[in-house]
Symmetry: C2
Subunit: 205 residues, 2 copies
DNA sequence: TGACACTGTGACAAGGTGTCGTATATAATG
DNA sequence: CATTATATACGACACCTTGTCACAGTGTCA
């Protein structure tokens, strides 16, 4: 989290820093992104930067937190539209994420975020910042219609959510990487994987 | 891949470099690992290093390729022992990987590899080096007993494999991160997730 | 006004990477 | 064997990072 110092400086200065950061993270993968270039771009002195943020990761996750909120809105909206059907929700969210990746000016930023996402980062995004905001699991999961689902205990639903999340990220990456011809294939692939999860890997007796 | 130059230098010099590299990657996460320290450790001049490997990634994946071969052996062995039951195989492989993480002198190296694994790297490990060696999918997947499985077309099996693989990595990370008290919980969690995949998320009609 | 606490600043040390010109060894050829 | 060609070894160099720190500026409050 940025220091209170950062939150107290003029909004336009904040914006300027964040926008420079976003530009940098759009042009470079996380590891190559340079604080140097960011501070030059928005004319913020080195020392000041380290007064605001503890390091690159701190800045990065602060940027992500905004999009995390956005995606949660999309998730909630789609969960309602699908009457609590979690898999149909994922299907629709996937479509809408794909759309924004294609069209928005955020495209490059999102792409890099996804490509950079490793298991540690994913954990930080999902867990670390859970308490302070969002409340992703509770708020969302409580809206899920569990009647149709194969649920033993409370944990099961979270597990389902995690599995679905992972699969979606993976398929998004495939989508981003492949050439335009194959993009349609990826979508149908993803959907058929969802079907697989619905029915289960093993045949019923 | 290392250059032929590297493969032609004396074996002990190769070993020395690889062992220094492994030590470095054991002590540091990929991004912090330093070529500088590696070449100092084994007294190889800067210029020579870049004659052998194109960069850090090149070296890293070369190191990984050995372990990739090992894990494939474990997978094959366990697949046979389980008469082609893919989920039971994953369960057993998970146990044996956990054992080696706990006990071997490779422990730190493996931990870092797993924690660093992002989707791009995973892709490179799984796909990029597929043609030259291993043949992970064909050789392994052909041994899977598909009679019990909910399989439509050829692709389905690969999809199942990928989903299982992802889940396993995720659970491994949880295992690595948690304190010793909870380690048992992680194992049972993993197993119940596998059950979930078997039966499916949705109740049968 | 003086004391204190917070903020701004950029030079600096410490460390990283990849390259390139030169030295050296090894192979090939007349 | 001598000479030329080619591949390898080497390490100084240029250029890039990052995080810190001593110093300067600003503001508040007694």
């Amino acid at each position: 989290m940025p220091s209170s110092t950062f939150l107290n400086i003029p909004k336009d200065k904040q914006e300027s820093l964040l926008s420079a950061a976003k530009e940098e993270f759009s042009n470079e993968l996380y590891d190559n992104a340079s604080i140097n270039r960011i501070i030059k771009k928005c004319n913020i002195p080195r020392g000041s930067f380290y007064m605001y943020f503890s390091d690159k990761e701190d800045l990065y996750f602060y940027l992500l937190s905004f999009y995390k909120l956005k995606i949660q809105e999309v998730i909630l909206e789609n969960l309602k539209n699908n009457n609590g059907d979690i898999i149909n929700m994922f299907q629709d969210v996937f479509k809408s994420v794909v759309k924004s990746i294609e069209k928005e000016e955020n495209a490059k930023f999102f792409k890099n975020v996804i490509l950079n996402m490793n298991y540690l980062m994913e954990h930080k995004v999902l867990i670390k910042h859970r308490e302070d905001m969002s409340g992703f699991p509770k708020e969302v999961l409580s809206l899920v219609d569990t009647d149709k689902l194969n649920i033993k205990d409370e944990k099961t639903l979270t597990q389902m959510g995690n599995i679905l999340f992972m699969m979606s990220i993976h398929e998004l990456i495939e989508y981003i990487k492949c050439d335009n011809v194959k993009k349609e294939t990826i979508l149908t692939d993803y959907f058929s994987q969802l079907e697989l999860l619905k029915k289960g890997f093993y045949k019923g007796e």
